[in-house]
Amino acid sequence: QSYTFTDVAIEGNRRVEPGTILSYAGIARGQTVNAAELNEAYQRIQGSGLFEEVEIVPQGGTLLIRVVEFPTVNQISIEGNRAIDDDALLPQVQTQSRRVYSPSQAEADADAIADAYVQQGRVAARVQPRVIRRSDNRVDLVFEVFEGGVAEVERIGFAGNSQYSDRRLRRAIQTKQAGFLRAIIASDTFIEERINFDRQALSDFYASRGYVDFRVTGVNAELSEERDAYFLTFNVEEGQQFRFGGVSVSSDLPEVNAPLFREAVRVRPGTVYSPSLVERDVARLERLAIREGLDFIRVEPRITRNDRDLSLNVNYVLTRGERIFVERIDIEGNTTTLDRVVRRQFDTVEGDPFNPREIRETAERIRALGFFRNAEVNAREGSSPQEVIVDVDVEEQPTGSISFGGSYSTSSGFGIQVGFSERNFLGRGQQLAFQVSTGVSNQRYSFNFTEPALLGRDLAFGLDLSYAETNRDNSEYNTAIGTFSPSLTFPIAENADLQVRYTARYNDLSIPDESEVGQIVRSEAARGEQVESSVGYTLSYDTRRTGLDPTAGVLLEFSQDFGGLGGDQQFIKTAARASAQRLVYNEEVTLRATVEAGALNYQGDGSRVTDRYFLGTSRMRGFEPGGIGPREFDDGGDIDDALGGNYFAVARFEAEFPLGLPEEYGISGGVFYDVGNLWGLDETNDNVLYEDGALRQVVGVSLFWTTPLGPLRFNFSEALQKESEDKAQNFEFTISTDF
């Protein structure tokens, strides 16, 4: 039946105005309303979330709405928490002071706090929300926490495994263990999720070793009463180990040149089958398809079993994927970076065929810019099923820094240090930095600027200006070196760049006290100021990021500088570097080998200590700066000048691997072995040692720690073979660059 109301009475509201309740109810005066509409009004008032209870009572001509408001939250506190402190827990709580208190939200907050404890392995934590009534319908909300012990005791057993021992399998599950606890929500689902996770970890382990028929036939598990330990036993059926049989590439598309793709396949018949090897080949073939300009190509690995000789034949079929185009590329979140700086990382242009792999590679390039805390690139359907919109959501991070500093040291007296550096100057992607640091005896001024895309092209322009006066702390002569060097860098082929540069270099060598310096340096200093003017180039070939193989890469660099274009020195400076890197053991361990060499030949009076090479720790570890190479040594007159060398050759072999610590600590370990030598002088005398010297060998361990400030590297080294007067250095701390 239906009602008409002449007036409305509202009871029980305190903070909320009658008008507000009426506007939610949506019933006008004198409007006839049936039961359903009354119910809708009730729903709307209830839906506002302001009231604990709502009642609508039609009394003849008047409509009575009786409400009980939720109290307002006065204060929120957490008690009984020792392991995690308040300011770590409070952000999890949605209920805010001054806002309306709702019991369901308080329950959800209690769960959120319990979840924070579970992430630390305290599965037994209990959190109870309690309400304290205050005056004026206000409440205080208190979360009482009982932390309980950490669930670390766990015993996992296996039945039916013959190829791999219980300990090995337990380790297979362990390594994936660290991140797992984060996924549990409530403690009673602990068992099922844990089992599914371990089941998956086990089948991944066996699958990557060729056991394609591996099955977990059954699991029995219980959680101890005190909820601090669980016992699991897995019954497994391993099946046989399969190897790769025939490997082939086929396609019925006319434009595909199958033999070319056949060569790009890396899997060799006979090796143990593993899904990741197949996936890597698919990646290689898809990348090759882009390079050949083939659109909409999809690579499908079709695998046929041959149970007699336990082999799997893989046939990579190149088919035509469905025809999808990139309709728009929308970039959002770039508050300082200009749109074009991000957009030019895309090779894909709006309207081009959509190629997921190329978009993923572009996402890598955007992240590599270093301007963003994170950059998400994903595609969603556009205005028609054939079109896709690529959304780039970036979150900026500070890329500039200003440094002011004053310093006072007994040796170099008062000094000020001013610096400004910006990796994303004015959001244009340009890099600009200047540094002024002065002391009584040391001054250093430097300015450098790089425009990565001059005239909008793939052409980087660099400009470096610096002037430094130093007094070498390990020997008693002063140097003053000024350089001016503009350069242009551009691609000359796939993965290959060429840099051409001009360098004008002023250097001066002076000796404050003749008696403390050896004869070589004295004669070199007698030449006073010298100016060099040289042109040079660097050829570099780098496949680390763009190469066909995602887990390996090589960097080759060859550079030469020719002095004599004006200036007083005729010289040729040649340097070469080759470095290869490979990720092994499903991409957890990095192996890297680098070989580096340099040669100077100066005509006329020859090179000076300011020109020659010094093997710094960036080239060879384990020695102090100037601690290696030819030196003028006269014990009587306590002369010990490091002279540097015209030639150097170094080889570095290192491995980096995780230490099994949870990855949020960001700590990993490494071992390294360096061997090399620094030799060759133009002018010598009988006090000079190691003019040709012997190979130095160093072995060491390093610790990597990625901190918010940057990746740190601590090296502990021991010289296996060195010359007696070399100055070893067993510990050094550097910022580790990724080679």
Binding site: S23, E332, D339, L426
Partner: protein
């Protein structure tokens, strides 16, 4: 300098609980005059906490939103404004609360200058002001700001269109400029969009499309410099690149230093 009173305590460090809502309110207004909006917002917040049911709580809530806004703390300003709209939708200050909510997005565009996401949110909340409180005094300035934000979005489309035009990706450029012509006709960018369409279609060799774009430009924006440029291009006496002093050195200076990269 004077003893720095910790918020949450009144003058002389006496806890706020002992003060009436009105005293705390005046204290908040006093802080606003002293141009300390953050402390003012704190005091107004305390009124809402201590006396949630008083008449002062309602006025304190809108003042809190205003104070946070003055302090450029847009997050809290939005939260307070939204609370006011939830609790007191029929009050006349509700229009102001909705307007403050829109301003909190809009002012961030000024500060940020480049982000599309924020512009879009500003447009939506400004439209909410215009539609729900059409006759309030904020509707007029909301409309003005709406047009500015709308113009800003069109500017973004133009920027991307020019990027593709310069790199000779004419089809992509045409699509971007067509978006401006179709969805953003009321903005100041439309004449330029039409001229760019003429440039792009001519570069592709689709002369009749270029004529059409030029005709639309001539019909609606005959007096603009854009129409003169298009007219010159379409009638063939267009200038050759060399004649506008475009040697490579001036190009490097213009693009690298001044940042005008076209």
């Amino acid at each position: 300098c004077g003893a720095q009173e910790r918020p949450g305590t009144g003058p002389g460090g006496v806890p706020l609980e002992n003060f009436t809502a009105e005293q705390i309110f005046e204290r908040g207004e006093f802080e606003l005059e002293r141009d300390r909006p953050e402390d003012a917002a704190e005091y107004f917040g305390e009124i809402e906490r201590l006396y949630p049911y008083s008449e002062w709580a309602k006025r304190a809530l809108i003042m809190q939103a205003f104070a946070f806004h003055r302090d450029r703390d847009y997050e809290n300003s939005r939260a307070a404004a939204q609370r006011y709209i939830d609790f007191y939708p029929l009050e006349d200050d509700a229009a102001y609360a909705q307007y403050l909510l829109a301003l909190s997005y809009y002012d961030q565009i000024e500060e940020v200058g480049r982000d599309q996401g924020l512009t879009f949110q500003a447009l939506q909340s400004l439209r909410a002001v215009i539609e729900t409180y059409p006759d309030s005094e904020y509707a007029r300035s909301a409309i003005l700001k709406f047009d500015l934000a709308f113009d800003h979005l069109a500017g973004k489309e133009m920027e991307i269109g020019r990027y593709y035009l310069k790199r000779q990706h004419y089809a992509a450029a045409v699509n971007r400029f067509r978006v401006v012509v179709e969805d953003f006709q009321t903005t100041t960018h439309t004449p330029e969009a039409l001229h760019r369409l003429v440039e792009a279609y001519l570069s592709l060799g689709l002369t009749d499309e270029a004529q059409t774009a030029g005709a639309i430009l001539g019909y609606n924006y005959r007096s603009t410099a854009w129409y003169k440029d298009s007219y010159a291009l379409l009638t063939g006496q267009g200038l050759s690149p060399q004649s506008i002093g475009d040697n490579w050195l001036s190009a490097i200076y213009r693009q690298t230093v001044k940042g005008e990269w076209l």
